[in-house]
């Protein structure tokens, strides 16, 4: 974390000196998931989620250049705090191509990669007057009402040129440095920002021999295969959360 603070301070300094455009960067996010909020309504989960483990913290990185971005979980070389609780949170990888307006999401479903390719979703963002600093950047809060019951908050900074963010979210004039569900159950915040060239090879993906679904065909497949199981509703929710 110390390195992060240093970088942030350094960046504050340099962006005050007038470099007001960031075309390529690596942004490290910390995701805090409140398992109690996410699963609190499931009676059987209450036993497992307690004060000590209810907040699950996982790192992610957003890499982008002028035409593409990748949002990836940062693998913990030690495996991280594991056990089955690791499966309670998603580790999706999202690759976005801003020329073709296509997004590829790789879902990790308990070890099995599932590839979903679809065109970018156009979201209706509402802009607020609320502002805050995240990782040294002034951000404005925007709100996306996904549906009647789901509201998502995003804090974006216009200092970054590309319209991108965690989980492939985009459509705001800048990069989203903070993202949260309304109840704060899942929150992403930028911690470190490294400005510099991003190799375009890092923004590529390989689907191998796997099936590639669209969101619709995956939803249909899940319903067909797992319509009866507990997993399916959670999976659909994780897939279509943002």
């Amino acid at each position: 974390m110390k390195a992060g603070i240093k970088i942030t301070l350094f960046l504050c300094f340099i962006h005050l000196s007038g470099i007001a455009q960031v075309k390529e960067a690596r942004i490290v996010f910390e995701r805090r998931t409140n398992l109690e909020k996410l699963y609190g309504n499931m009676e059987q989960m209450k036993r497992f989620v307690n004060e000590d483990n209810k907040i699950r913290i996982e790192p992610f990185e957003l890499l982008y250049n002028d035409t593409a971005s990748a949002f990836l979980p940062i693998e913990d070389p030690t495996g991280g705090p594991g056990g089955w609780m690791a499966y309670l949170t998603t580790k999706n990888k999202t690759y976005s191509n801003y020329n073709s307006k296509q997004q590829m999401t790789t879902m990790d479903f308990a070890g099995q990669a599932i590839f979903v390719e679809d065109s970018m979703v156009s979201r209706e963002w509402k802009i607020t007057e609320s502002k805050r600093f995240i990782a040294g950047y002034n951000c404005r809060k925007a709100v996306y009402d996904k549906n009647d019951s789901t509201r998502i908050y995003a804090w974006f900074s216009t200092e970054f040129e590309l319209s991108t963010g965690p989980e492939g979210l985009n459509g705001l004039p800048g990069v989203i440095l903070g993202l949260a569900t309304e109840d704060g159950g899942i929150v992403y915040f930028a911690k470190e920002i490294e400005i510099g060239k991003i190799e375009s090879s890092k923004l590529l993906y390989d689907t191998g021999k796997n099936d590639v679904y669209t969101k619709e065909s995956l939803a249909r497949t899940i319903e067909e295969r797992m319509g009866k199981s507990r997993w399916s509703s959670g999976m659909m929710e994780n897939l279509f959360r943002w």
Partner: protein, 928 residues
């Protein structure tokens, strides 16, 4: 919106009419720095619709400061111009059909300014005070009406405002969260707490700022919190279940049932949980004279009855079906209490007291074949066992976090057991040519008392350095059990034409105590390695005094030295070892070496003969796990272990409670030493629901405990435990689960192979028995909306080859076929049923040759709006098969058992679930 910060520029263009076609807004302009001279590159312009704040579009200025913002319909919107080095500039634009092309020729950005919010603090009367940064209201100082809720109270508090939607402001600032005793007891909606909690339960109201754990609900790092401190007896509720079942005496009982069983079958159950804050109190009672003699795993979970989980695994989702071999009568009851203490509730105390009163009346028959070097013989046994046991158990579990790195746990357990056990066994001995040579009868009647204490103390300490850990454990165990009783045997020796009898009074005192200490320290080396050192020291003593008195006249005072002895064993064990571990994302490796020394001091107090043993071993272990991906795992394990003989195996005295199989101890017996190898592979794909697993296990034992038996000419035996080398055990297993037809059906095949080499000694000759077992099965699960069922079968083939006598080498097989079904019908009806058909086969005809079909079913209907009342008819063993059969092969003996179990009965059962909210109360549904 701060108007002081905003230069309000309104460009109003007259709205005349809307054209037939919607047109697109087009805004152009040039952005300059504060001086108005230098054009600003890369400033963001953003159009936000006024009526709903929707982002309509955005663009950036080019090198010359020019921008073009277009691509959205005509609207009334705010235009933000934003650049990180300047304050933002805001315009309101009113577009119309005639005026959708707007040009703002010169936008001059204002200087960056910093505005800090001022903090306003109120001073108050005595009922309100500050403690640090926390504002505290004493609730009792504010008058509210009798049935007031928290919201009514808050409205009375100066500085706090509550609007009609229940939103709260303190000193003009929004309250983001309402906590109850520092906890989010009622979830996120603050009104759940404020509109439902009674005001008179509140002790005080605290208002303070708190780090925003989620940093998502508001826009600030800190949020304002209103914390309701409740009076002790507040957060309360309860839930429970009561059920009763009876056959109303309608079951026809065959004459074969035991004497006192001329009454009806019943089951009764009561479970109740009351919670009050962190305090939980559960009470349970269960009584039955059916095989349903323990609580199910679900109930154990839901009601927090952790120590009742002993019988029935988590897979027994329904009631625990212990299926004792015989006719049980059960009463179990108990009380559980748990609470958390301390400011952060870091101290937890659990307490429970349970009482069991269990009776069992079991009648069994068995047929055994004994294969000796020169001959074989067989026995027909008929036995009856009546047990009455009472047990009191007290458990205490105290856990506390001394600081953020140190945890302490103290777990004492006390139990008292009292039992009356009687057995009667009649045995008929038949020679190889089926001539009845000997008949015996043995009656044992004992009263026993046992007292047991165990205490575990463990301390776990972590350090600032991640991965450095220290564990200290100390266990103390004390066992004190006494039995007293009578043995009466008669042997009618037909061949030699005499009758022999034994009539003895017997006492047995066993006292066992142990101190077990364990220290372990783990030190991480770099990111992936760690080294741990461990030292264990055990000090255990066991003493057992067995006395047998022969009857002389009417008194029992002739001590029979052949069956009496006092024996003591003292063991000191030191174990020291190191473990080197490596762990990264894909590989996990552990190397462990333990040096162990046991010093054993056995003393025969009757003869004064000491037997001293000193055994030193190296116990190595190796463990490797490879995870090529999160869904595949391969592991290999090698370990060594050593276990010590029990005092009964050691004590040099004969046990004649079964005159046909007298046992004696062997004080020379050494601890055994086992090498164990295990190999496992598994792969699972949750998305497509495919699972595959396979593995193998192999162990070889040195100084294995084995039976040494010698026979007289009728087949009566005397045996003791000896050490033998080369016993082996190996298994190979594989299984899979994969779905077909849209995962409505899943298929689960399994295969098992087993090999066992067992050495025993028969009349001083070594007898090696090689046993091969092979089998497999398949299960099909069907899951439809209202109907779930599965069908399964299994097959196993068993072949034993004994070196001493080839007559024993009769293979046998077992097949099962069965189904489970649950069908939910309209109007609250549910049908559930299970059935199992068992076929036991052996070549020729034999005792074991048997097939039976056991079928159980239940039809239930739920009542009330909440469906909390369920009435059902339960049918057990509807086809009245009344048997339980098993075959056991050990060394040169094959025994086939049949035990009489409860057969057909029907119960009418009523179950009522309830809770304090009068809502639907569901049983706990675990994850599986």
């Amino acid at each position: 919106m701060k108007f002081s910060k905003i230069l309000l520029t309104i460009i109003i263009l007259s709205c005349i009419s809307f054209a037939g076609h919607s047109q697109t807004m087009r805004i152009t302009g040039t952005v300059y720095d504060t001086s108005g001279v230098k054009p600003l590159k890369n400033a963001v312009t953003m159009a936000v619709r006024i009526k709903d704040s929707l982002l309509l579009g955005y663009s950036r200025t080019d090198d010359n400061g020019n921008f073009l913002l277009t691509g959205f319909d005509i609207d009334t919107f705010t235009l933000y111009v934003d650049h990180p080095n300047y304050d933002e500039k805001v315009f309101y634009l009113f577009g119309s059909a005639d005026n959708y092309e707007i040009e703002i020729p010169k936008i001059q950005m204002p200087d960056k300014s910093q505005n800090l919010d001022e903090v306003i603090i109120y001073a108050n009367k005595e009922a309100i005070y500050f403690s640090g940064d926390t504002l505290i209201y004493k609730a009792d100082s504010f008058q509210v009406h009798e049935n007031a809720v928290v919201e009514d109270l808050l409205k009375k508090l100066p500085g706090i405002e509550v609007d009609e939607n229940g939103a709260i402001k303190s000193q003009g600032k929004d309250v983001d969260k309402v906590l109850v005793d520092g906890d989010e007891f009622f979830g996120d909606d603050p009104t759940i707490a404020t509109k439902n909690l009674g005001a008179k339960g509140v002790e005080s109201v605290k208002v303070y700022e708190k780090e925003n754990e989620d940093r998502g609900s508001g826009s600030d790092d800190k949020i304002q919190v209103l914390d309701l401190q409740l009076k002790e007896d507040y957060k309360k509720g309860y839930f429970g279940r009561i059920s009763g079942a009876s056959d109303f005496g309608l079951t026809y009982l065959s004459a074969g049932y035991p004497y006192e069983f001329n009454r009806s079958f019943y089951e009764g159950e009561f479970l109740f949980n009351r919670f009050s804050g962190s305090q939980k109190l559960s009470v349970f009672a269960l009584t039955s004279n059916t095989p349903r003699s323990s609580l199910g795993w679900r109930d154990v979970r839901q009601f927090g009855l952790d120590n009742e989980a002993a019988s029935g695994s988590r897979w027994d989702m329904g009631g625990g079906q212990a299926a004792p071999s015989g006719i049980p009568q059960t009463l179990r009851a108990g009380i559980y209490f748990s609470d958390k203490f301390g400011k952060k509730k870091r101290t937890k105390l659990n307490f429970n007291y349970s009482f069991y009163d269990e009776k069992l009346d079991a009648t069994s028959e068995s047929y055994s074949q004994y294969f000796l070097t020169d001959t074989s013989y067989s026995t027909n046994n008929i036995g009856r066992q009546i047990d009455e046991n009472q047990s009191h158990r007290i458990n205490l579990d105290f856990r506390t976090q001394l600081d953020s790195l140190t945890k302490l746990r103290i777990k004492p357990t006390v139990s008292f057991d009292k039992g009356i056990n009687s057995t009667v066994d009649r045995v008929e001995f038949l020679s190889q040519d089926s001539v009845n040579t000997l008949n015996t009868q043995a009656e044992n009647n004992y009263d026993g008392n046992a007292f047991n204490i165990s205490t575990k103390v463990s301390l776990e300490r972590k350090f600032m350095k991640d991965g450095r850990e220290l564990y200290l454990d100390y266990d103390y165990v004390l066992d004190d059990s006494k039995t007293e009783g009578n043995l009466l045997t008669t042997s009618d020796n037909i061949a030699l034409a005499y009758i022999d009898s034994v009539d003895q009074r017997k006492t047995n005192d066993l006292l066992k105590s142990g101190h077990y200490t364990d220290v372990e320290y783990v030190e991480p080396i770099g990111d992936f390695w760690s080294l741990s050192g461990r030292y264990q020291f055990d000090y255990t003593t066991e003493s057992q005094e067995k006395r047998s008195y022969n009857r002389v006249g009417t008194d029992y005072n002739d001590l029979d030295s052949a069956f009496s002895n006092a024996f003591e064993t003292l063991r000191l064990q030191h174990k020291g070892g190191v473990t080197l571990s490596f762990e990264n994302k894909k590989h996990e490796i552990d190397f462990e070496v333990i040096f162990r020394n046991i010093d054993i001091d056995n003393v025969n107090r009757f003869t004064g003969t000491p037997v001293k043993q000193n055994v030193s071993n190296i116990l190595p272990a190796f463990d490797y796990t490879f995870k090529p991906s999160k869904s595949k795992e391969f592991s290999f394990e090698y370990n060594t272990r050593s276990s010590q003989p029990s005092v009964d195996d050691l004590q040099p005295v004969q046990d004649n409670s079964n005159p046909n199989a007298i046992r004696e101890g062997n004080p020379e017996l050494l601890p055994n030493y086992v090498h164990n190898f295990r190999l496992d592979f598994s792969s699972w794909q949750v998305f497509s629901s495919q699972f595959v697993w396979t593995g193998a296990n192999f162990s070889i034992t040195q100084n294995a405990f084995a039976n040494s038996v010698s026979y007289n000419q009728f087949g009566q035996s005397v045996s003791k435990t000896i050490n033998v080398d080369g016993n082996m055990f190996g298994t190979l297993y594989a299984g899979a689960s994969f779905p077909i037809y849209k995962q409505i059906i899943s298929i689960r095949p399994t295969v098992n192979l087993m090999y066992n080499k067992y050495t025993n000694e028969v009349d001083a000759n070594l007898n090696v028995t090689n046993t091969f077992t092979g089998g497999g099965g398949i299960r099909l699960n069907f899951e439809f909306d209202s109907l779930n069922f599965n069908i399964y079968n299994s097959y196993s083939y068993n072949s034993s080859v004994s070196s001493l006598n080839t007559f024993a080498n009769t293979p046998y097989s077992n097949q099962t076929y069965g189904f489970n079904l649950r069908w939910t019908l309209p109007k609250g009806f549910v049908i559930s049923s299970d059935a199992k058909y068992t076929i036991n086969e052996q070549p020729g005809e034999g005792f074991y040759d048997l097939s039976y079909f056991v079928w159980n079913a239940e039809v239930s209907k739920s009542f009330l709006k909440t469906e909390n009342l369920v009435v059902s008819i339960v049918g057990n063993d509807i086809l009245d098969q009344n048997v339980q059969a098993a075959r056991q092969v050990s060394g040169n003996i094959i025994t086939d058992n049949r035990t009489e179990i409860i057969s057909r009965y029907f119960l009418l059962k009523a179950t009522l679930r309830f809770n304090n909210q009068k809502t639907q109360q569901k049983d706990y549904e675990g994850w599986h």
